[in-house]
C-alpha cells in the first residue's frame, strides 16, 4: 500500500492526513512536495496526522526531519498527531521524539498553534 495524503484546513492550521507507508521513493517524495507546496503558499502551521501510517522507514523519518527544519526556517511550525506505536517506537529510538511537538488530540493540537 502506497502513501496517501489528504489536506484539511481548520482555524488556520493545515492538517495533512497521511495513510499507508512512508518509504524511500514515492512516499517520502509526496511528503516533501506536500510540505513544500504549503510553504510556497504561505501556509506555515502544519499538523501531520500519522494515525493511519502503517510503516515508516529511515527515508520517511528523514523526510519528516527535513520538513521540520524547512518549516522552522520559514518561521512556521510543524507538529505530529496520532502516532501509531510503530512510528512512536522509531521516533523514540532515533531521538526525534525529543525534537517534534507530538500531540494525541486534534483539537488541542490545533489550539496549540495559536
Amino acid at each position: 500500500m502506497s502513501m496517501k495524503i489528504t489536506t484539511r484546513q481548520i482555524d488556520g492550521v493545515t492538517i495533512l492526513d497521511l495513510s499507508g507507508r512512508i518509504l524511500l521513493g514515492e512516499g517520502s517524495v509526496q511528503l516533501r512536495d506536500a510540505v513544500r507546496d504549503l510553504l510556497a503558499k504561505g501556509q506555515k502551521k502544519i499538523l501531520l496526522n500519522l494515525g493511519d501510517v502503517t510503516y515508516i522507514d529511515s527515508s520517511g523519518i528523514g523526510e519528516m526531519a527535513s520538513a521540520l527544519t524547512a518549516v522552522h526556517h520559514q518561521g512556521g511550525d510543524l507538529k505530529l498527531l496520532n502516532l501509531t506505536k510503530r512510528v512512536h517506537d522509531v521516533l523514540q529510538i532515533t531521538k526525534l521524539y525529543t525534537v517534534f511537538d507530538i500531540k494525541d488530540d486534534e483539537a488541542s493540537a490545533i489550539a496549540s498553534f495559536a
Binding site: G25, Y55, S58, I61, G62, A65, L68, T69, T94
Partner: protein, 143 residues
Amino acid sequence: MRGQEETRVTYTLESSLESVDKVEQTAEQMARDAGIDEDETFKFSMAVREAAVNAVLHGNAYDPQKRITASFENTGEDIIIRISDQGQGLDPAKLPDPLAPENLLRGSGRGIFLIRSFMDEVHFRQLHPGTELTLIKHLGTTK
C-alpha cells in the same frame, strides 16, 4: 535463484526498489513462520528493508548493471540474512552518529543505526567490489 531447502533461500536481484520490497516481504514471511510476534516482525523486516535499501541505493546506486544478493536462513536458533551489493564499499566506522545533536534533524543517515537497533548482531564484510551485511536475529529474544 531459489535454494533447495525450505529454510534457506537466496535471491539475486536488480538494483531497484521492487527488489527492496521483495527482500522485505521475504524477511517478514520468514519472521512470521518462525513465530516472531507482530512488533518484532515489524522491527526485523524494517531492518532488513534498510539493509536492502543501502545495497540498492548507497551500494549499487540503482546501477542496472549491478545486482544485489539476499540470502535468508533459519537455523532453528537464529535467522541469518546476508545482503550484498557490488558498490564501492562501506566503512561503518566512518558513518556519522545520527543521535548526535548536530545530526538529529538530518534528512538521512539513520539506516545502519536502525539495523543495529533492531538486530541482535550486525556484521560488515568488504567484498571486491561491494559490501556484505549479515543481520542475525536470535530466535527467542526480543530487542
